[in-house]
């Protein structure tokens, strides 16, 4: 059965903890183990930070929408901003020796490392969306 939780915040960093607390409740409810739960929290955090800073360029009046879709075996989180989007295939690799001392550019790398699927797209009604999916480990 699919369940959906939606959360919408103003584009302010101070609301990011609120998204984290919902993420925590959702992963606890789905019984992800503690490690997975904390990496999922971090990936969602990075997506929300990007939506606020890059997508909405910190315009507090623009909202960031976070949608959690829970299924038996997987959690999918959609983070939508009101920006133009960007080309995620053109990102430099933050682990290459040239970029290692770069103070930024690790957010999407974090997401890709911690989640099973990361897909950026343009929302049909405007704004850009990143979809983050994490499967439950088969035990």
């Amino acid at each position: 059965m699919t369940e959906t939780i939606e959360l919408s915040i103003d584009s302010k960093l101070e609301f990011v903890d609120l998204v984290a607390s919902v993420t925590k409740s959702v992963t606890a409810k789905m019984e992800f183990d503690e490690d997975d739960a904390s990496w999922i929290e971090l990936a969602v955090h990075e997506a929300v930070i990007n939506a606020i800073t890059h997508g909405n360029r910190n315009s507090a009046d623009k909202q960031v929408e976070v949608r959690f879709v829970t299924e038996q075996e997987a959690l999918t989180v959609y983070v939508r901003d009101r920006g133009e989007g960007f080309d995620p295939s053109q990102l430099p690799d933050p682990t290459s020796s040239d970029n290692l001392l770069n103070p930024s550019g690790r957010g999407i790398f974090y997401m890709r490392t911690f989640m099973d699927e990361v897909e950026h797209s343009i929302h049909p009604e405007g704004g850009s969306v990143v979809r983050l999916t994490k499967n439950k480990r088969s035990s």
Binding site: L42, P94, L100, P103, S104, R106, G107, F109, Y110
Partner: protein, 115 residues
């Protein structure tokens, strides 16, 4: 709800910054940056960041560790890490920053390593 608290103490000419909380975008990162800058301005160039009580480091926080490292180096100093948690160790590994940072699990050894 201050995200990061930083206390500094001196062991010979090595400055230990005991960090506690979260190094994340905004407040946490800014506090770390300012603390390191303050030390360098004071002529303290051997800096050991004690991360034992750091619960959370986002990509900006990792970036701030890198900046602190670079700034310290550019000022003729050295910055090393002490007591990385399992989580921070994982993050440094996946970002390949393990190859950049000198990390220690033992404070005395860490202090001695600056000599």
């Amino acid at each position: 709800m201050a995200s990061l608290s930083i206390k500094d103490r001196q062991a010979g000419d090595v400055t230990i910054l005991d960090l506690s909380g979260k190094i994340t975008i905004g407040e946490g990162s800014v506090q770390l940056r300012e603390a390191v800058k303050r030390m360098l301005d004071d002529g303290k160039k051997k800096i050991l960041l004690n991360l034992g009580d750091v619960s959370y480091v986002d990509s900006s926080g990792i970036g701030e560790l890198v900046s602190s490292y670079t700034t310290t180096g550019n000022n003729g100093g050295q910055l090393k890490l002490l007591n990385q948690t399992k989580k921070i160790h994982d993050l440094l590994t996946i970002t390949k920053l393990v190859t950049v940072f000198e990390t220690h699990d033992n404070e005395e050894t860490a202090i001695a390593s600056f000599k």
